[in-house]
């Protein structure tokens, strides 16, 4: 039923404007694959190429082994959930969901059965006779989802399906989509520019920038081991420190940060003394320490958020650093003006080449074919 999607060296241009130069990716059968990237990076463009709404200027897209470049939209057998839902306003909920089935050679009975079943799944059955204008955003979203998957397509495409919902509904629908996708087991391409959503929902994420995929990986790898500085900055927040290699000792690379603080990073690629590097430390990758161990900083701002405490701390670098600590594990809450000492969690921090921006952590790959 579910298929894999193979995208090979595709190119897309609008008139003279090349939006996607040469992009390849392999999406596995049954997985929820997310395209994540800043606005205008070409996520929608790529999704619409898979759907067939956009022409493909070069390269191929195949479902399993079947190249679909020249197969018209209506024969591609995919379901799509649109950002604005695109529910047919002239049809009731029931008719909307039924629409795609009516086109297939199915008995009336089977159609009714399948519509009823999917309405239960997405919990929209009580509204089956309503017109879309009388539905809330979340309900419309459910109808759109039901309409797309009831035809049991090979592929499900979603373009920012949650962006029109309020924060609470977004969380709720996110889980619903994830659940249904797993139950149905359908290969899904999901577009979003919300990194948190991407991390929560995806099997794998492709981070895109300017028409190129930067890295494809599982959410935790994308977050913890970004392939380059773009991914590191786009997903979550990172504090940047310039550094210089002082020497290598076994598996440890000794680096001195710009503020003079030495750290010993495990698992880096071979580096020589004097090599310049970029060290990226996420806010939660700091720990308060004693004066002897830690690097000195001054608290500029303290934000108490209940479970977490956020500090802005000046380490003497060009930019103040963000530090987050779990409120339940600290003995003492610092205030603005306090001098503090912090160590870097070297098992978590990432190191990048200062010019190419590519990771220097051993074993981290972009996974881009």
């Amino acid at each position: 039923m579910a298929v894999s999607i193979n995208i090979q060296n595709v190119k897309k241009q609008y008139d003279d404007n090349v939006v996607i130069r040469d992009l390849s990716a392999h999406i596995q059968s049954g997985e929820l694959f997310t395209l994540l990237g800043p606005s205008g990076c070409g996520k929608t463009t790529l999704l619409r190429m898979i759907a067939g709404f956009n022409s493909i200027e070069a390269g191929t897209i195949s479902f399993d082994d079947r190249v679909i470049n020249n197969i018209p939209v209506y024969q591609r057998n995919f379901g799509m959930v649109f950002q604005n839902y695109a529910i047919f306003p002239n049809m009731t909920v029931y008719r909307n969901i039924e629409y795609g089935l009516k086109n297939k050679k199915l008995s009336k009975q089977e159609i009714a059965q399948r519509v009823e079943a999917i309405m239960e799944t997405v919990q929209i059955a009580p509204y089956k006779d309503r017109y879309p204008e009388k539905l809330s955003g979340g309900q419309q979203q459910r109808v759109a989802l039901a309409r797309a998957i009831v035809v049991q397509p090979q592929v499900l495409l979603m373009d920012e399906p949650l962006s029109n919902l309020d924060a609470k509904l977004r969380l709720e629908m996110r889980e619903a989509i994830r659940q249904i996708q797993k139950d149905v087991g359908i290969t899904t391409v999901y577009v979003t520019h919300d990194q948190e959503e991407a991390l929560a929902i995806s099997d794998r994420i492709a981070v895109m920038n300017r028409g190129d995929i930067q890295q494809i990986d599982e959410p935790e790898h994308i977050y913890q081991r970004p392939y380059n500085t773009f991914v590191a900055d786009f997903i979550g927040h990172s504090n940047h420190f310039a550094g210089e290699v002082r020497g290598v000792e076994g598996s440890l690379t000794h680096i001195v940060l710009e503020n003079g603080h030495p750290i010993a990073m495990p698992g880096l690629m071979p580096l020589k003394q004097g090599d310049r590097v970029q060290v990226f430390v996420r806010p939660e990758e700091f720990t308060f320490a004693s004066k002897e161990q830690g690097m000195e900083g001054k608290v500029l701002v303290k934000l108490f958020l209940g479970r977490y405490i956020n500090y802005r701390i000046d380490f003497g670098g060009p930019q103040a650093a963000e530090v987050t600590v779990d409120a339940t594990t600290v003995d003492r809450i610092h205030d603005a003006g306090d001098s503090v000492y912090l160590t870097v969690n070297t098992r978590r921090a990432n190191v990048f080449h200062p010019d190419t921006g590519v990771t220097l952590v051993e074993g981290v790959v972009s996974n881009v074919p």
Partner: protein, 551 residues
Amino acid sequence: MFPKKGVRFDFWSFVSLLSLVVFGLFLIIPVGQMVVYAFQNADGGFTVENFIKFFSRPYYVRSMTNSIVVVLSATLLVIAIGVPLAYITSTFQIKGRRLMDILIIISMLSPPFLGAYSWILMLGRNGAITTFLRDSMGIRIPSIYGFGGILLVFVLKLYPYIYMYTKGALKKVDASLGEAAESLGYHGIRKVLNVSLPLVMPTILAGATIVFLRAFADYGTPRLIGEGYNTLPVIIYQEWVSETGTNAYFASAVALIMMVIAALVFLAQKWISSRRSTTMSMLNPPKPKQLRGLPNVLAHVYVYLIVLLSTLPQIYIIIISFRNTKGLMWADGYGFGNYVTTFTRSLSSIINTFQYAIIAILIIVVLGTLFAYLTVRKKNLVSRFLDVFIMFPYVIPGTIFGLILLMTFNRPPLILSGTAAIIIVSYVIRRMPYTVRSSAAILRQISPSIDEASASLGYGAMSTFFNVTMPVMAAGILSGAILSWITIINELSSTLMLYTGKTQTMTVTIFQEISRGGYGTAAALSTILTVTMIVSLLLFFKLTNSEDIDL
């Protein structure tokens, strides 16, 4: 549209092709034919003789100046009456405003020549009011025939366009603008002149252009009430059916002159409004205020008087349609005699009207929405051409359009003259713009993802269009189709060129009856026409839940 690599010949390519065929065959070729004829003599050689003839004879030149003078005067007067009317009804509370609006729409949509006919019945040589004043009071009123009569009819028939356009625009002027102006010390009339008027100016201009083109194209009014005050459409008709044999070449030349004038006016308006388009953001729509005292009375008197004057012809026709007649003469008493005569003698023209109109409107709705889709959703060479072609009929007067269809299709390879088909073709081409425009407008508000959703569910382009797009467009289609429909059943000028005994329509019969003095039948038929129009309008209001029509 022309197949690039990997693009199939799909439904929309077919529709593009269809649009080219329809407009090519029934618009471009006939217009081309006219242009060719205009520069030809009877032997088929090239000549500018036709134009020399036109510009060297005072008789013809005068018809042109007559046309321009009476049409310009009408346009200016219409603005002078319509703009204040729109301002009053949208700024102040007027009792019975809704009814006034409906009456205004009705008088706008009824054919002008009926107005002319009714005014003749009231104020003409033997008109009811004329004879009453002369016999009972010895007062002689000035003649209604000629320039004055044409002007009267045009103004009362056409001010609703300016009224509707201006009212629509005023509705969109943010009330905060007026408030801001007041805070800056602009009050009353100064506020209107300095703030509201400039904002609605482009709209007034657009309305004035429509008024100009309508009046300019009208054949029936000057023909009936002009009596020697000839205008261009009258000349064209005369030249075409003149006793000395038809002169297609000279008629074509006059038609070309007329179309050039119309096109220039049309383009001038487009040019001016493109240079000063303002977009308004409407956050705070204006609310009509309650006036008190004398101003309140004056405002009401103004509105009621204008509406009364413009509906009077309609009402009068309805009344006298019940008056008994004897032969061509009025007789005493009232009854259904005229209707009986009409149904026995002119039933076929009633049937023809509805037959042609229904066929035409069905074609218009299908083609109009398809073409609207092309122009909005498929940006290509054909759709850009289409954009222009669709608006073309606005500048082609009906008389001319009838004429050029006839000249093109009265000989092989395609002979249509004398058939119902040629009349239907004329209706379709001339009345499609309303439907295309409103359909395109609603389409711009509908997200294309609706179509894409349907395609993703396995529906091809054509079934997507008819299953989803068209039903969703319904309200917009309907609001244009109602205009197309009403203006079809009221169509006279091109039908007059194209009809034969067998394909005579109601308007033609009315016109003939008026010409031969059969006022009873004419009144009865006119009443049937008016009632049809009112019923259609009310049905439309009910169906769409609206209170207004979009021009």
